[in-house]
Symmetry: C2
């Protein structure tokens, strides 16, 4: 039998795991620094928790786990005879794999509300599962990296999450554009354009401006019910670009003004509290390009205030050719938990697309040189008699915390050096009978081929 893995899933080689871990560890470091705390939830959730939370399409993409034992025992005989999968499902499966980290988080907050201190700030870096058709860059099993704070509507969190996004990409050595908008501004626009009842339609059309240009957007808007007046208002709005020039256009909309004020406060907070060294960044208080983007809508209906979307900055030198959509995003929501019966739990959060960030760093060759290497020394012995000496040396090195390994047989140097290369060992300690006697070891640097003689203490 030739083994395989399910389509849409992946194995990772050690060098890949290490580079993935590098990304996760940078994200985790900033999450922790900003006071977000780790929680863990099970991979399997009750289907009652998951079903109906992601729309009809989402329900179809949930992986369902079969009940154990004689699972057909309680199934409806008529539904079985009719091969009615939907109807049979409820009687043969009561668990599913988590689809995202948000719904399990909501469930968690409700179940553990008495053990949590609010505002509650949590992060989670865990895999999720979706039965999407697998394609390049899209998997059925992939990681999400989320940080959220719930139980407060303070704008300090919008400011700090912007700083957090900024800090992560700065540390990863990736120049990013952090785009920020506020749903209330879009609601204001819909109001003054007379499209308050189909705001969703409006934002979907506007969202495509970058890709298809104004003429097509206008066509689309018209087909969605915008009249000539609405088109004019919207065009003016999209041309405005900066917060200052948008503000007067929203003077007649209460919600629109609120959105402007909130966003202005967030930008001010970031600028005033900037921890950047002088001369760094774009003058907005962050390392990366931070922009107000009135076209930014993000699909999720769910958001009610700030929304972020982060992309690779293709204006930055060396990054011109990167074709990649959003690499992080997030937003504020008025209500996390009422689906589980707990009211008044507003929150705000961001999420990193670690899999896409991996692809970008790979394409830019921007992983640190040591991100895929772990071993410090490989010890090789030229003859059998020195192997035990080699084992003593490797034991003592490890006890000192050095990452070291011993090639377990005496062999041809060439073969052992090849193994060192495959193991990504930067240095090789070569032991022959003379070295074993004198304690003066030949140490070869794999990258340069340089060789020096060192005593154990110097390793």
């Amino acid at each position: 039998m030739k083994p395989s893995i399910p389509k849409g899933t992946r194995d990772f080689l050690p060098s890949e795991v290490r580079r993935r871990d590098y990304i996760f560890s940078v994200i985790k470091k900033h999450f922790r620094r900003f006071g977000y705390q780790p929680i863990e939830t099970p991979v399997m959730e009750n289907l009652a928790t998951l079903t109906g939370k992601y729309g009809e399409e989402g329900d179809k993409l949930l992986f369902k786990v079969l009940n154990n034992g004689n699972f057909l025992g309680k199934a409806d005989a008529d539904a079985l005879a009719a091969k009615d999968s939907d109807k049979v499902l409820a009687s043969i499966s009561k668990r599913g794999l988590r689809y995202d980290l948000t719904v399990p988080f909501a469930r968690y907050v409700v179940m553990h509300q008495n053990d949590l201190a609010f505002p509650f700030k949590r992060y989670a870096i865990m895999p999720v599962w979706r039965a999407d058709r697998p394609q390049k860059g899209r998997y059925q099993e992939f990681y999400q990296c989320d940080a959220d704070v719930v139980g407060s509507d303070s704008l300090f969190y919008e400011a700090e999450l912007t700083q957090l996004l900024d800090g992560v990409f700065h540390e990863l050595g990736l120049k990013a554009v952090i785009r920020l908008n506020n749903r209330k501004i879009l609601a204001g626009l819909a109001e003054i354009a007379g499209m308050a009842d189909n705001m969703m339609d409006m934002t979907i059309a506007i969202d495509k401006l970058d890709k298809i240009g104004w003429d097509k957007v206008a066509e689309d808007l018209t087909s969605r019910g915008a009249n000539a007046g609405a088109l004019q208002v919207i065009k003016q709005f999209l041309d405005a670009k900066s917060l200052d020039s948008v503000a007067p256009l929203l003077a007649d909309s209460e919600i629109g003004k609120e959105g402007i004020a909130e966003l202005q406060e967030v930008f001010d907070l970031i600028k005033q509290s900037s921890p950047l060294p002088r001369g760094e960044g774009f003058g907005e208080g962050v390392y990366n390009r931070l922009e107000f983007d009135v076209t930014l809508a993000r699909g999720l209906n769910y958001y009610t205030g700030a929304i972020w979307e982060v992309a690779v900055d293709t204006d930055a030198p060396g990054q011109e050719n990167i074709k990649m959509g959003s690499i992080a995003g997030g937003g504020r929501y008025a209500d996390l938990t009422s689906i589980f019966g707990m009211k008044d739990m507003p929150g705000v959060g961001v999420s990193f697309g670690a899999e896409r960030i991996y692809d970008v760093l790979e394409e830019l060759d921007a992983f640190p040189a040591d991100a895929s290497e772990d071993l410090q020394y490989l010890i090789v012995c030229l003859d059998k008699e020195t192997l035990n000496h080699g084992f003593g040396l490797v034991s003592r090195l490890r006890a000192r915390g050095v990452h070291a390994d011993l090639y377990p047989k005496a062999g041809k140097l060439q073969k052992m050096l090849k193994y060192a290369d495959q193991r990504n060992a930067p240095k090789v300690v070569i032991i022959g009978s003379r070295e074993a006697e004198s304690g003066e070891y030949s140490v070869k640097t794999m990258g340069t081929g340089e060789q020096e003689t060192l005593r154990e203490e110097k390793l």
Copy 2:
């Protein structure tokens, strides 16, 4: 709707995640130090990979994932009508959740053999799933922590894995007994006792010596076909205890002598290469108690050479009352991958019972004091006007790598200190209008209640 999670699964609070992470990180640190490399495999495997690998009982305990879409479409109508779950299964489910880390590892080695350098040393710290009946300390979703090396039969690996087990428990501050035996010794005993054909029966009986005493073991052995001569040989053997006194009893068994020689070499290697400071440990070259245990058999048929089992040392001061079975174990196997068509792949590995180690450390109150705390400073503001000042301070602290958080509203000090306590913050920075002006902050140490005045640079 009142939310819940599937029985046998768990949510973890931040303090629990941190303490679990502490254990994982100690184990991982030693895995890396000893040259083991991380790999990752999918949570979902093809059922064809998993089925038949864990015996009939294991097959029943596999969690199976329903095919997506109209899963009943291809199901056999007669089997459905008869509600024959076993027969229907193959047509409605082709994936399952991994049951352990060994079978996926074997599959991985076969699939990626051309990308791996042998001896290949890998570790994995990942959850597995078993549909066991949940009970205290037994979960349906739990972590395994495995390190294995495949592609070599060198005894250096037996020696280093013993050092690795020793190093992990030493660093965790847990005194352990590491018991070591060799299947070949048991095979030799079976040979000389005339029980070569029912060696498994013999080892199962012997394995219980500790719990039920010799008389009951003898009864059991008799019922399994041992005659009086066999009983005498076995009794003599069990009384021998040390390797030296067992050796002469096995003089007539080739395989038995091989087992003795192997074990002797492993003990010698460990002792000779001991990196321990003088006076530490029990004189065997390791920190913990290292013992030859001829009764140690371990259930798995699978092992062919060395076998380990590690338990809490209840002779150690303070650990007398710990009732816990094996907290780590492992062994050598002649063949990992032939189930997937790849021959000659011997290996040896160990596995840590992280969930049990957690319970033991909890019971001994042996987690480091800072294992569940992460935040260094919580900043609280006494009035609204100083909040922005507080935000500036927290931004600058974080930029310096300090783990800091800001309570987002001005409030009563008592309430904010309670929040600091719930967040496990060791220090609280208190800002009133005077502090904001002078830059001299009141810093309260939560543990002692002490208060001092510090400038930002001193935080």
